[in-house]
Symmetry: C2
Subunit: 284 residues, 2 copies
């Protein structure tokens, strides 16, 4: 039976380190500050916001919420972002997405200052990842996967890693980050032929397709390592990943659970990005 | 025995189309113009320049060479690029690389107007490829591979495609372009374990590692399709690809030669980019 990776423990270690860094900055008179921009009152935005603010408090980062009316026009919204860009007390800007349709994300993403873009929205930050430069801001979920890989000393160098999913939020940046660590990366998706055969040849599988329990044990090579990025709801209304955890854990050597897996680490990436932002702005 | 893809014929068709488009633009009073920026007198730069100018002439695009002294300082060089950005008669800017060390490519690449960046140097253009938006400027070599794939009706959808090499010039953008066409893409490199096993599972292999005749027939599945991006010199001083052509052509179903393969198509991508630049600037 496979070992279940205790990602909550990892997250605690990451947050403790962030808290230490935050306190060091405060000693120097820099108060790390994350500006959260929320348009309207979508339930999941508010839940995410609460969770971020709770974690901000834990690590001594100030969370500052900018709530906009859901009908805010493009001009006012742009001005808000530009104001945050210019505000030297703001170290990170997080804009909740998706934005309402009348606010063009393809324009907004260019407006946000790449130096404060802690959620990696600006194409300039994405381009750096593509170039294999991981010193800039990394998108939270794939960076959380990489942090888990490093925390648990998983060796990806030269290994066959299959990434399931090709989104800009997870699959593609994750593939680039794994490539940077010398993994042999295969990107699979809904159009992949012989999916089971491809996935079951992998030493490491990272699933990010958003299909509840889709990956059964027949997709997994014996003793493979399985990282489940999916967050779905199963037929009984319970949270579950893209992987059929109960079945796959018997075959895998290491596996992340859902809940309590990758998702429990993502916020720490966001907050670490805020710390990095504060350091960068403080230096310049 | 495999069929050898006649890429020269394809290149001729591409150039004929470009010529037609160029003439249409000229009828509207727009004279497509490519500005070539060369620093110093490196032999391979001059050879490349000659070949581009020859092809420009063929398709009725004006090639305008800006030769700089090899000691040109950053300020003057930046001014030259900015001047070309602003010159409304210039539709495409090609800066020969690598630049001498005192000219920082990481700065220059941001200065070149993304709308005239026909060699895909600006990260904003790279980011678009990463996002799967292939309507912008594409880097010439991987785009040449995709044009060959389309010209010869090679179906990549769902197929296992192995890209050998992970450079920003070929491997990574090619992987993204193939992914956009729904291929299942694996990126291999010098650190890949069991390389032979991985490559020989592929339906389509694109080799871009720069090692003369490295890929022998034992790397290739019977009836696989082989696209050779490498341009090397063999022990006898002859041009050759990354693939051992004579051996592999017996096993592959389709194969591109070197010379006369991908390399003969790349310049047509550059010139098509100039036409697209002229159309874009003319519209706005």
């Amino acid at each position: 039976m496979g070992h279940v990776l205790n990602c909550k423990e990892a997250a605690k270690v990451f947050l403790d380190n962030i808290k230490m860094e935050s306190e060091k900055l405060r000693e120097k008179g820099v108060n790390p500050l994350l500006a959260i921009v929320r348009v309207g009152k979508r339930e999941d935005d508010i839940a995410y916001e609460k969770s971020i603010l709770k974690n901000c408090e834990k690590v001594n980062i100030t969370g500052q919420v900018h709530e906009c009316d859901e009908n805010i026009d493009m001009e006012s919204f742009t001005k808000l972002i530009q104001g945050l860009n210019q505000d030297r007390f703001v170290h990170g800007i997080l804009v909740f997405r998706p934005l309402p349709k009348h606010l063009d994300e393809n324009v907004i993403k260019h407006i946000i200052d790449p130096n404060k873009d802690v959620d990696c929205m600006n194409p300039l930050n994405f381009a750096r990842i593509f170039e294999g430069d991981l010193d800039g801001y990394l998108p939270c979920t794939p960076a959380a996967v990489m942090n888990i890989i490093k925390y648990f000393n998983i060796d990806v160098k030269g290994k066959k890693v299959v990434v399931l999913g090709r989104s800009m939020v997870v699959g593609k940046p994750l593939a680039m980050m794994l490539l940077k660590e010398d993994a042999t990366v295969t990107i699979c998706h809904s159009k992949t032929e012989n999916l089971k055969e491809v996935v079951s040849s992998a030493d490491i599988v990272a699933a990010a397709i958003g299909k509840a329990k889709f990956i059964g044990s027949d997709y997994i090579k014996k003793d493979a390592i399985v990282i489940d990025v999916g967050i779905n709801v199963d037929d009984n209304g319970n949270l579950c990943g893209d992987v059929d955890f109960e079945a796959v854990k018997e075959k895998a050597s290491l596996i992340t659970p859902v809940p309590g897996g990758v998702g429990s680490v993502t916020t720490s990436v966001l907050l670490k990005n805020v710390i990095n932002g504060a350091k960068r702005i403080h230096k310049s």
